[in-house]
Subunit: 260 residues, 2 copies
DNA sequence: CGGCAACTTGACAATGCTCAACGCGGGTGG
DNA sequence: CCACCCGCGTTGAGCATTGTCAAGTTGCCG
């Protein structure tokens, strides 16, 4: 696993969907460069515009969002390392959402032509298609989350999804993660008020489900959290390696964290 | 419009995205056959399954949906004539949603191979890509709807979207439409209770915004409805023919408070 | 004519929002 | 170096929107 920790986040993510050859990996390595640093709380793509190139996050967290006329914001999806601002299809007349960093990010500006260099590499193309489906499924899941789950369930589901996605990248062992997301961000994801998010987190801390000091998130009782949120990870379309084996309460996978 | 009313709904929809040649139209005509009749309230694709072929609706209304453990249902999108159950990409391991008819429908069962016969027809491929983006944008819009709009706004937005989409197919003049959707269906779309949907519709009828007798829907004050719902149709990615001319009063910021 | 699905309405309950206030820490400018 | 400020977190009180429950009507179809 030490070698795999060196892989770039895009490769890691796509390998969670489909097996890739060494040539595929080499091509992806070439794609993920040059990297540009962007501070936190910065716009990457403005709402309603049609950016010249596609942004690929390789470090840090960003989000797609929409602003409401009254100034409120709805986050449409989290973007974590390995995620594109647009996915594998002809761009539309104009984007219906914006993209902004949450934390400081490392970003690759991908010319659309350059992204097409993957054509002729069926495994990568297949992985990108599954990736595309996975993202749509996440949006559907968020619609369910906001529409049909109460405050506690929403936060629980969101945390479960987040940690699984990080685990794919080797950024979490499935229980602990660096979580620099503010309560305001969580509120914008779940369509709750900041106050309500705060209360939900307080209750979860008090019942020993999780702890959150600064940006250090620890999920002490992941199974409980999954049950609360009704989290069933099949929609993420991941390989079986990343999905739970049913019946195992504490499925610890040793050492996914490079430095701790 | 008489000749164009003869076109099949798929052709009409795709032409709202991109211009098509006569050969393209002929190909699409061949695709939309044979047609099978399905009664209302019937499953077309079961949740969690991976159907052998793609369903294309050519008549009637259907929906994508998810069932919750407590038996409630969330409708993820309306399917109207011209809509596919899956869109233009490699199918996933399993579907995270089901597809069911709402009214009696006419359905084409499309072998995946057969759908690939459009390759080599760039205009159709382009239209399908835009179509795909449009559908995703609709899902995002629904997430906004459920997350950030109150009951009146949600219903207003849903009705606006529905009528515009029907207009593209020639199934509405933009003000009147056959609307065989029950209040229960609307509740499942908007994440409201049936009771609340009923109250919203009652208020709208009383304030003269719309009337609804049986399945005959008339929108008397479309601009007001758009303002209430904050409906801005750009996300549908339609040709300018189908979009509002800017500068009309309908483009103000939406009313935040409900009508009464 | 009976039955069922959809629609309708009122009364009540609850989930989560708004408002307001305060703590805390890191950064910044004087 | 210190004071201030701003973003973030925290908490309580009151209340609005919407859900739940219950009951009754309508209308269609067999």
């Amino acid at each position: 696993m030490a070698a795999s920790a060196m892989k770039n986040p895009l490769t890691r993510k796509l390998q969670a969907f489909t097996a890739l050859s060494r040539e595929d990996e080499a091509l992806l390595d070439r794609l993920v460069t040059p990297v540009r640093a962007v501070a936190g709380r910065n716009e990457l793509v403005l709402e309603g515009q049609r950016p010249a190139d596609i942004k690929l996050i390789v470090g840090g967290f960003a989000c797609r969002y929409r602003s409401m006329p009254d100034g409120r914001r709805q986050i449409l999806s989290f973007m974590i390392p390995g995620d594109f601002s647009e996915l594998y299809r002809t761009p539309p007349r104009s984007m219906d959402y914006g993209v902004a960093t949450i934390t400081a990010c490392q970003v690759v500006d991908l010319d659309r032509k350059r992204l097409e260099s993957v054509s002729g590499h069926p495994a990568i193309e297949e992985a990108l298609r599954v990736c595309s489906f996975s993202e749509e499924a996440i949006t559907r899941e968020w619609l369910i989350n906001v529409g049909r789950r109460n405050a506690t369930e929403r936060v629980a589901h969101l945390l479960c999804e987040f940690v699984v996605r990080l685990q794919v990248l080797g950024l979490s062992d499935g229980h602990r993660a660096d979580f620099p997301i503010t309560e305001g961000d969580l509120a914008d994801c779940t369509s709750l008020s900041v106050v309500q998010v705060n209360r939900v987190l307080r209750d979860m801390k008090q019942s020993g489900i999780l702890s959150l000091n600064g940006s250090d998130l620890v999920l002490h009782d992941l199974d409980r959290l999954k049950r609360i949120g009704g989290f069933l990870p099949a929609y993420l379309q991941l390989n079986d390696d990343f999905l739970d084996v049913p019946g195992k309460p504490g499925h610890d996978r040793p050492d996914r964290r490079p430095t701790a």
